[in-house]
Amino acid sequence: MEALLQVKNLTTRFYTDEGTVHAVNGISYDMEAGETLGVVGESGCGKTVHALSIMRLIPTPPGKIDAGEIIFDDGRDLLKLSPGDMRLVRGAEIAMVFQDPMTSLNPVFTVGSQIVEALKIHFGMAETEANKRAGELLDMVGIPAANNRLNDFPHQFSGGMRQRAMIAMALSCDPKLLIADEPTTALDVTIQAQIVDLVRRLQSQLGMAVMWITHDLGVVAELARKINVMYAGYIIERGDVHSIYKRTRHPYTIGLLGSLPRLDEVPGTKLVSIPGLPPDLIALPQGCPFYARCTYRLDQCLEEMPPLEPADEEGHIVACWRWEHVAGRKN
């Protein structure tokens, strides 16, 4: 299948007074049309910066995309587009839903007018037509009495409804790719279930690809087909969702899964925590960034960053010198 999105050697850095922050360090992967990709990692692992780089929304300065290509759809390199052309891609072809529905809506405009704005810009719709479409969109994302809610201000919506409105806005131009950056982190678990259900339903209806960025390995187990695990600006493991959870090969992913209690766990289970802290992105170690916290480490790991290499024929790749030991293939 033809790739919808090809990220090649993407490198994003922030040049600050304290030093250079190595936020994204040469990551590469492909996404197919209609696919759901989960991007998993803890705060500061570069998952959001990588998404903002794809959208070209990195504040410059201090940020800068230093290297890489982002080939989208019919072969355009998004990093080479003019700002005007890029603006036509944003929203219309790639849309983004942000983490905090409280701050991503403008409090002084009605919800309806914020949806209508995108429709007018991208489709040149007239006011009445755009209003009608906005009502349909709110209805599609499950807001009751949608047409009456168009004139409401964001504060009149609950958190879950605001996130629905954000999704309606993101879908207004029928994008090929929806990037959802921690869309349910600020929401309660019953509301999260509603949003996950909604995105899944809309995806099968509209056939778009979804990139779901999260720190929660639970949510992506339900949604994603492929998973990228990120650590310190690197993809350290990538594979099919079943393969990542069942044949985990990187010590960090193992630690992350072990840190997470399962609702269906048996009593007396102890959490396997990862000792220590993630590395400082200003002073990244020369070798593997996980070295300081890893229980499988060798001297080699301190000297050289392991490349991503295939661990099986099904496309599971892992960046660890010792993945075969970790996965129990060798002792």
Binding site: V189, T190, I191, G218, A221, L260, D264, P275
Partner: protein, 332 residues
């Protein structure tokens, strides 16, 4: 400090209403937000009681009212035969020694202008427990106990990461050798791998010091992991309370059932096998709760009676309390 039948704290018909006032010069009382509305439960010595619920359900208010950080509107908090709700002044302060709190936000709950040493020593000074060299030694001991280097005593909070700050908060809570520690969302602002470190630390300390925890959080998997018993709150009321296994394997209240089914399990194999109950709508406004059972606006199985009468909170099975018209008590 223990009451009857092994309970350390007995909470009875506790209510905490926050008044809604209107008018600027002449204020009028126009209504109440019923943050905690008639809640009863026991915390048994040595156990961890988990308190879960969604935003705004009143779980934090319960914790704070037990410590008398909020004045209860009505009801009793019985600790060692004494009703804490009636105690005042110096007596209240002395009783608070036995009960401490770990706060949610490790960035806001530590004074940025105080060193770690003086933060941890503050409760010792307030209660005038130890002085001088002994105080210094106690602070060092506490730092060691929570897994921090005693060498850090002269550093300031901003020099620590979120997980380390939470450890400082834990050390402060343990300074007075309390019996009960109320943990109010102690891990929700931390990253996954750091959460596990803090939870493991809390479990170790409980074993070592014989602590009793009231663990308040919204993360059901984590609460189930750490708790012996769990209480589920909805809109100011406890809807169900029972053993950690019973509540997962045999939840009786429709809200608990929906809540359990909404929690994602990090395993793609179980995803398709689970029964999902997706609740519609949002939590109603606590200033204007629905008539009858307060869950009736979202309940998938509500019947006529649920819109008329408020259900009673009953022990429906041995050690299993619930409040729902549709649950029939078994042989009690």
């Amino acid at each position: 400090m223990s009451g009857g039948n092994g309970s350390l704290v007995s909470v009875r018909r506790l209510k905490k209403y926050f008044p809604i006032m209107r008018g600027t010069i002449i204020e009028r009382h126009v209504g109440d937000i019923k943050a905690v509305d008639d809640v009863s439960f026991d915390i048994i010595k040595g156990e961890t009681l988990g308190l879960v619920g969604e935003t705004g359900c009143g779980k934090t208010t319960v914790g704070r009212t037990i410590l008398r950080l909020y004045e209860p509107t009505d009801g009793a908090i019985i600790v060692g035969g004494i009703n804490l709700a009636d105690v005042t002044g110096g007596d209240l302060r002395r009783m608070r020694r036995q009960m401490q709190m770990i706060f949610q936000d490790p960035y806001a709950s530590l004074n940025p202008r105080m060193t770690v040493g003086s933060i941890i020593a503050a409760p010792l000074e307030v209660h005038d427990i130890v002085r001088g060299k002994e105080k210094h030694e106690r602070v060092q001991e506490l730092l060691q106990m929570v897994g921090l280097n005693p060498y850090f005593v002269n550093r300031y909070p901003h020099e620590f990461s979120g997980g380390q700050r939470q450890r400082i908060g834990i050390a402060r809570a343990l300074a007075l050798n309390p019996d009960l520690v109320i943990c109010d969302e102690p891990i929700s602002s931390l990253d996954v791998s750091i959460q596990a470190q803090v939870v493991n630390l809390l479990e170790e300390l409980q074993e070592k010091l014989g602590l009793t925890y009231l663990f308040i959080a919204h993360d059901l998997s984590m609460v189930r992991h750490i708790s012996d018993r769990m209480a589920v709150m909805y809109l100011g009321k406890i809807v169900e309370l029972t053993d950690r296994d019973e509540i997962y394997l045999n939840p009786l209240h429709p809200y608990t059932q929906a809540l359990m089914s909404a929690v994602p399990i990090p395993d793609p194999d179980v995803v398709d096998k689970r029964k999902r109950i997706i609740l519609e709508g949002d939590i109603p406004n606590p200033a204007n709760p629905p008539v009858g059972c307060n869950f009736n606006t979202r309940c998938p199985v509500a019947e006529e009676i649920c819109f008329k009468e408020e259900p009673e909170y009953l022990e429906v099975k041995a050690g299993h309390w619930a409040s729902c018209h549709l649950i029939k008590p078994e042989g009690i």
